[in-house]
Amino acid sequence: MKHVDELRDRATVQTLVRALHSETKHDWTVMEVCGGQTHAIVRYGLDEMLPRGLSLLHGPGCPVCVTSAEVIDRAHAIASEPDVVFCSFGDMLRVPGTRGDLLRLKAEGRDIRIVYSPLDAVRLAEKHPEKRVVFFAIGFETTAPANAMAVRIGKQRGLANFSILAAHVLVPPMLTSILESPGNRVQGFLGPGHVCTVMGTREYGPITRRYGVPIAVAGFEPVDLLHGLLACVRQLEKGDAHVEVPYSRAVSEDGNAAARATIDDVFEVCDRQWRGIGWIPKSGLRLRWELRDFDAERVFDVGAVTAEENPDCISGKVLKGLAKPHDCPHFGKRCTPETPLGATMVSSEGACAAYMTYRRLPILQEAHV
């Protein structure tokens, strides 16, 4: 398929790997921001093709992982209300809050549906005026325009039975939080390709200048990822730190103006709690006050919900690049995709789940012979 096959080409991958080996002179640590990038890197084993001194850390760009247990508990409470049809992207159903996951609630007979697009939820609301349809609006800047458009269309069509539970997160405040962390090891980023498709690259320039870290905005195919890494390494070796866009076929400096306008129309910036990490100021989006009739948190009075994270889980450190999945004593033992302890194991795009899926299981150091 065009724009896919040529980006999985073996010869091009080999060329890029050789270039990385010959041009990497020092030790560098680069973080890929997106869960989708992590997934592709581990799936194709790209991290195992790199020169010894070049390490990859897996970033926090998995919205399913970072949605707080409190929000998931709130989703549970709303989905348990009478006459509710609760709609969600499929990945969210398996994520446990403190009361279990939404899939269990579905098994208990609640009307919980997996939708492909937020517009599917709008259509359900139109079809079932006697039901209250709620859409679980999670995601980064990539997904925000679609979820915002669903609210706009719901308003245009006068749908009084449609609302969203908004749990949107934003990338730049998270990157700043990583770089500000004591013990930060990140020296450069593979930037989030599809977030920048919407937002453009302007927000990232100040981060590169303030912290002296290069950001190479990369796509999600093997050639895209290695191309991004090469751009990042070349800057690091030269002592440069600016935004570069190897994913230029999809990302421009301005991004998608129409999509950004839809976001601004419907959402406003708010503080947001990230699972495994905690509250980060101005790192989320919530519905504007004028649209409160579409805000499930206001439509349904589910009261205060507080949730405790499992103290044995190190996902906060993994999400910030301070630890790798193998560093956790529970990885692959107590904690598996079927029985996740926390954020990075709950979704297939989380670093711990990607390591499990592609069998990156550690050899026990003290085997009994």
Partner: protein, 80 residues
């Protein structure tokens, strides 16, 4: 989660005041909301995320990137 898949825009139409389109993904065709890509025309390759077209793929940029990578390969061959 930020997965976006490239496909070829086949047609655009308006459905109840919303700009929509049909996008072909290597033989599988899907209805897609085109509100955020008002300038896209049939034949364009677009990136689709959760039923919405996010961006038009810039063919010139795609070709420029591949040409640059081919050059990198050629140069390497010349030097070895």
């Amino acid at each position: 989660m930020c997965l976006a898949v490239p496909g070829r825009l086949v047609e655009t139409f308006v459905e109840r005041d919303v700009r929509m389109g049909r996008v072909d993904f290597g033989g599988m065709s899907k209805r897609v909301c085109m509100e955020h890509l008002p300038d896209a025309t049939p034949g364009d390759y677009v990136l689709v995320h959760v039923g919405f077209a996010l961006a038009r793929i810039d063919e010139e940029e795609a070709e420029r990137t591949l040409a640059m990578l081919r050059e990198l390969g050629d140069l390497e061959e010349e030097l070895t």
